[in-house]
């Protein structure tokens, strides 16, 4: 279980805390969505959950133990992360990128073995990228690239997954495909935290939702509890209406300015 308890993070030389007194809990088999406007502290909260930023107050715990105290490799066996960006200064093949997910399990001098290759194959098949294992990473489309990175996180054989804006720049089909993939993984027992701008996707796929506003919690609960029209309108600074999908998930529609 991954948990943030009353976490406060202040970046140097800023007046307002990036995150203030925020709590969040993710358990295996659950999908938690973190939503909010630009600069509301979503990514900072994710960084706190990974132990990648020092806390000014509160605690970030993995299995009850402060995340910063976990040895790096051990943490990486529990927690798979798909960050917003990463760099490719050199040319790698897709399967090499996914094999990096095995590194937390390998000694610094041990080359990957048959089991590692098997895990990589399985992970790539699950994410439907098995067909281009030997393609160069810079020749993949945005959707393929994103699924390769999810495959890498799966190759870590983690119990929990953190995804930061996984559907940025993806079209409607790939967006749905990626969220369906995450939902399947969660149904199979993985816990996941997803930061996203897509309120409507979050509302359809997440069990729980955390709405952040200027670094503070604006609401927490099921999507139906969180997505109240006046609250969403206030937090995003724009009037909205809430409707429902055929399966009963709340959907946010921003209203046109009258006249």
């Amino acid at each position: 279980m991954l948990e943030a308890r009353d976490v406060t993070i202040r970046y140097p030389e800023t007046e307002r805390a990036a995150v203030e007194g925020v709590s969040l809990r993710v358990e295996p088999g659950h999908l938690v969505a973190v939503v909010g406007p630009n600069g509301s502290g979503k990514t900072t909260l994710l960084r706190a959950l990974q132990g990648a930023v020092p806390l000014d107050a509160g605690a970030a715990l993995l299995e009850g133990r402060p995340i910063a105290e976990w040895p790096d490799r051990e943490r990486a066996r529990w927690l798979g992360v798909v960050a917003q960006r990463e760099e490719y200064p050199f040319v790698w093949r897709a399967d090499e990128i996914v094999m990096f997910g095995r590194y937390p399990w390998l000694g610094s001098l041990t080359p990957p073995g048959p089991r590692d290759r098997e895990v990589v194959r399985t992970a790539m098949a699950r994410c439907d990228v098995g067909g281009f294992a030997s393609r160069r990473i810079d020749t993949l489309s945005g959707g393929e690239w994103q699924r390769v990175r999810v495959a890498r996180a799966l190759a870590q054989e983690p119990r929990l997954l953190i995804l930061d804006e996984p559907t940025t720049a993806l079209d409607l089909g790939h967006e749905m495909e990626l969220f369906e993939l995450i939902a399947t993984l969660v149904r199979d027992g993985l816990g996941a935290v997803v930061v996203t701008h897509h309120l409507n996707l979050a509302a359809r796929f997440a069990d729980r939702m955390l709405l952040l506003d200027q670094g503070r919690e604006a609401a927490r609960g099921t999507p139906r509890e969180v997505l109240q029209p006046e609250r969403v309108g206030r937090v995003f600074g724009w009037p909205v209406a809430i409707t429902e999908t055929p399966e009963g998930a709340p959907q946010v529609t921003p209203l046109r300015r009258p006249g």
Partner: protein
């Protein structure tokens, strides 16, 4: 397989490097002289050419591996060993020593080594400004700034120096293996072996580091620790190389680049291959440097660039095609 091919090429280059020189020896005689210490050419082979070829190989391999590791550290395939301000610091120390008439065969390498380390420490300190993290972009800038500063003092000093000393300083800066000997090889290996082994052992962290700090952290790399290790080992290796053979450019840039294109960028495979290829290249370059204008010698750094630039241009064209 590919590594075996490189190893074979390396051995061939070493034998060739021993055979070629002011007096050319047929390969058969070289092998005879190597195997039988009493053979006619044994003295020239054993006391001059073998240590020279081995030193060229070791320095080449070291510069190549340092370049490859630094490319991963700063996430830029154009990084090379002299990025850390090393060339500036070593050059400045050497020029000061030569200008002041302190340049004995033993003192000069020691001073160059010290200058290189001081300069790279300055670069390190500068790039930590504003935080505890080693930031690649700041590191590159700091390296350039320190190199320029050292270069400025060096030019000022050189204009005030008399002609023979000026020529000595200039020759030293161009680099070469004219001073190679068994003790020089021993001293170099003393400094180089341990840091090289450390770099080979961090190969998998170099893969992760290349992806950026955030992803490297997520995949279990000890990011800041690895960066410091890479920084200090490459600084030490490059300083030792400069101390024994002056400033030999381009090997540390072109071979990692070429081998990345051929073998990919998994550093566990890349680093040993880069070591062999860079060693081979420098032995071959040194053999050319000794023979093209026989009995005079060309600066080996000029030869590496003369071979390297066309090869680089060809690789660049191919990778863009």
């Amino acid at each position: 397989m590919k590594l075996g091919l490189l190893a074979l090429l390396g051995v061939a280059a070493l034998i060739g490097g021993v055979a070629i020189g002011a007096v050319a020896l047929p390969p058969g005689e070289v092998i005879a002289a190597l195997l039988h210490p009493g053979a006619p050419d044994s003295a020239i082979v054993w006391s001059l050419r073998v240590p020279r070829a081995l030193l060229a190989f070791a320095v080449g391999g070291t510069l190549g591996v340092s370049g490859a590791a630094l490319q991963a550290l700063v996430r830029n395939p154009l990084a090379e060993p002299y990025l850390l301000g090393i060339s500036g610091g070593a050059g400045l120390a050497a020029v000061v020593a030569i200008a002041m008439g302190l340049a004995s065969a033993w003192l000069l390498p020691a001073l160059a080594f010290g200058g290189a380390l001081v300069a790279s420490a300055a670069v390190y300190r500068l790039s930590l400004v504003g935080g505890q993290r080693l930031e690649p972009r700041t590191l590159v800038l700091a390296g350039v700034v320190v190199a320029f500063f050292c270069g400025a003092i060096m030019s000022a000093l050189l204009t005030q120096t008399d002609a023979p000393r000026l020529r000595n300083a200039f020759l030293w800066l161009l680099g070469g293996f004219g001073g190679a000997s068994w003790p020089a090889l021993g001293a170099f290996l003393l400094y180089a072996v341990a840091p090289l082994l450390v770099l080979f052992a961090t190969a998998s962290s170099l893969d992760l580091l290349s992806l950026g700090d955030e992803t490297a952290h997520a995949l279990g790399a000890r990011v800041e620790r690895t960066k410091r290790i890479v920084y200090f080992t490459t600084a030490l290796l490059t300083a030792a190389s400069v101390a024994v053979s002056g400033m030999i450019g381009f090997v540390g840039l072109i071979t990692p680049h070429a081998i990345r294109g051929w073998l990919g960028s998994i550093h566990r495979r890349l680093l040993p291959a880069v070591f062999l290829a860079s060693g081979t290249l420098l032995v071959a370059a040194d053999a050319l440097a000794r023979t093209v204008v026989r009995p005079a010698e060309l600066p080996v750094g000029a030869v590496t660039a003369l071979i390297g630039v066309p090869v680089f241009a060809w690789l660049l064209r191919r990778s863009l095609a």
